[in-house]
Symmetry: C2
Subunit: 205 residues, 2 copies
């Protein structure tokens, strides 16, 4: 009886943790939407606060800068699309993950927000640091871990430099995306995997 009562009270009482969580979600959603509509450069913390229905100070309580909010919003959208599966077949797993990522990069809502942030990183060291720390490095680590298991399983040669291998796989996708030569695609993923695993050189003895 007293347990039921205390639960009922808890449900009716304002829950600051939950309210904070709702505000955070509203801010992240507003940040992503505004960047998608107006570009990263054209979005201000004031505009994010107005759309999320919070004060500007609420944003600065949780994030140091516009770059930090947008980075977390991007991370939320990427979410599971960048997880590395482990089916025991490293090429199939990389193909699945890299195809999901290139699809996201090519999408008209996510792609321009992401490249806008990478653009801002070229002239703003704080954005550059947040990009590497929050978006890139955790995924580089996850990819490296998948490659390590593949190396243990004999799918990758024992002496391959795996940090460099991650860059070899992902570098070509970013080359197209950021240098605007041609769009990244699922077909590119297939070609990259074939070249990276087989090598450019003539067949080894």
């Amino acid at each position: 009886m007293s347990l039921v009562r205390s639960r009922a009270i808890a449900a009716k009482a304002p829950d600051p943790t939950r309210r904070n969580q709702q505000s955070r979600q509203a801010i992240l959603r507003a940040a992503f939407e505004l960047c998608s509509e107006r570009s990263y450069e054209g979005t201000s913390v004031e505009a994010i606060a107005a759309r999320a229905g919070v004060g500007k100070q609420t944003i600065y309580r949780w994030w140091p800068s516009k770059g930090a909010v947008v980075m977390e919003a991007l991370n939320d959208v990427v979410g599971a699309a960048s997880d590395f599966p482990d089916s025991g077949d490293v090429i199939a797993d990389l193909r699945r993950q890299m195809t999901a990522v290139t699809t996201l990069l090519s999408s008209p809502d996510f792609g321009p927000v992401y490249t806008g942030v990478i653009g801002a990183a070229q002239s703003d060291p704080a954005v550059a640091e947040a990009l590497a720390a929050q978006i890139i490095n955790p995924r580089v680590d996850a990819c490296r871990k998948r490659l390590e298991r593949a190396r243990e399983a004999g799918e990758i040669r024992a002496d391959a430099d795996l940090d460099a291998a991650v860059e070899l796989l992902y570098g070509p996708i970013y080359h197209r995306l950021l240098l605007h030569t041609r769009p990244p695609s699922a077909e590119q993923v297939n070609t990259v995997l074939e070249l990276a695993f087989t090598g450019l050189g003539p067949a080894r003895a």
Copy 2:
């Protein structure tokens, strides 16, 4: 006698071609210096004109935008550093060219101007187009031509996709440069060449 006289007259007369050439060089030098001192974003066509000692209209007579001037200035600085030698040993030639390029990308005067322009390309389609057309694509083509000769010579396997091969070689360098994970280096060039030519997979039969 009449020939000597006409030469003397030509030397004394104002030479518009030569004067134009001097103005162009002054503008390109000013554009590069200002971007290096203040960043690409912080440089205006007005400031370039003032430093070069020309009117703003002189710049717009030759280039459609700030992006176009800076792109040509960058191209002049890159110059011969990005030429592909042909010694008959494709790995040695790529190592020489890619090391020269990473040295330039890592230099404190060139690097930030170049990444600043790439940053601007993420939100300005005209800069993106000029970047691809003036800086990237001509070098991609030159690299591809060197790889074609290597394929003919049996240094690269006959079925390798050479457009993708260029991205495989250069992508890792841009991955570091633009995602700010760690600086491109001569050591990276060695690792990329080893991985790209040998492949990640276990030894082929």
